[in-house]
Symmetry: C2
Subunit: 137 residues, 2 copies
DNA sequence: CGGGATCCTTTAGGATACTG
DNA sequence: CAGTATCCTAAAGGATCCCG
C-alpha cells in the first residue's frame, strides 16, 4: 500500500510504450486504476458525480456496500486526490464527500463507461445465453 | 455466476434512474461491469485493443497474469460478447483472440480511461505524499 | 453520525502438474 | 500450445461492537 516504485522510465511515443506503465505490474498507475475500477470504486465515483453527499447518504446510494468497504474505498480515492473530504468535528460528526476537479473529469469517463455497459446489457444477456447454450448443447 | 436476475424494471429518464441498474447489487450489469473493470479485465481489453493475439502472446503483454486468471478473464469477456475466440483444433492448438465490434467500442472507453489515469499520475503521486504527510505529521 | 478495531468467512489468485 | 484440475495462500469483504 505504501510502496511507491519508480516506473516513469523512458516513455516512447508509440502506443505500446504509452501503455507500458499500466501493463507493468510494479507500477503505481495500476494501483490507482484499481482504486477507480474496483468493485466499489466505480460506484462511489459515479455516485459522487451527482453531487456532494454524506457518508451514510453514499452508503444508501451504493447498494450493498458495507461501512468498512465504503470507508476504505473513499480513503483510497481521497489519497489519490479524486475525492475531497470535508469534516466538521461536531457531535454527532458531519462529513461531506465530493469530487475534486480531477475527480470530476475521471468520473465523467467512468459514468460514460457505465452508460455504455447499460446500453449493451440486452446484447450481453443474449450473448450469455448463446455461450451457455453452445457449451451445454 | 449463472444467476441471471431480471432488473430491467421501469427505467425513468432521470439520471438517478439511469444508474439504478448498476447501483442495485442484484443486477447482471454490475457483474458485466466487473468483468470489464476487474484487475485483469481492463488490461486484457486494452491489450486486445491493439489487434489479434494468441493466448501466450496475451500472457506476455499483460505482465503478471497467471494462466488461470487469463483464461478465466477471457472466458468471461467472451461470454459477454466483448471478445471473439477463434480456435483451430490442430496439434499443437492455435487459438486467436480479438475484440468483437461491441468490444472495440467499449475497449476504446477503457483505453481512454487508462490514458487519463496515466496523465494524472504525477498529480496522484503528489496527492499521495500530501495525504501521507498530513496523516503522519 | 462517521468511522476504527476486531473477528470471521468467502473469494481471488498463484503454483504446479497434467492432457489433447 | 492452450488450456483444465487441484491445492493452497493471501486478500477482499461482511458483521459486530465500540468510541468521539
Amino acid at each position: 500500500m505504501s510502496e511507491v516504485s519508480e516506473c516513469a522510465v523512458e516513455r516512447e511515443t508509440e502506443h505500446d510504450q504509452l501503455l507500458f506503465d499500466v501493463f507493468a505490474q510494479r507500477c503505481p498507475s495500476r494501483a490507482t486504476l484499481e482504486h477507480l475500477t474496483g468493485r466499489w470504486g466505480v460506484l462511489a465515483m459515479a455516485a459522487l458525480h451527482d453531487g456532494t453527499f454524506r457518508f451514510n447518504e453514499l452508503r444508501r446510494r451504493v447498494h450493498g456496500v458495507s461501512e468498512k468497504m465504503l470507508a476504505q474505498t473513499l480513503q483510497a480515492l481521497e489519497r489519490d486526490g479524486f475525492v475531497h473530504r470535508e469534516a466538521q468535528h461536531t457531535i454527532p460528526p458531519k462529513v461531506e464527500y465530493s469530487l475534486t476537479d480531477r475527480g470530476k473529469r475521471t468520473a465523467a469517463l467512468l459514468v460514460e463507461l457505465i452508460h455504455d455497459v447499460e446500453a449493451q446489457m440486452p446484447d450481453v444477456i443474449a450473448a450469455n445465453q448463446r455461450y451457455d447454450a453452445a457449451k451445454n448443447g
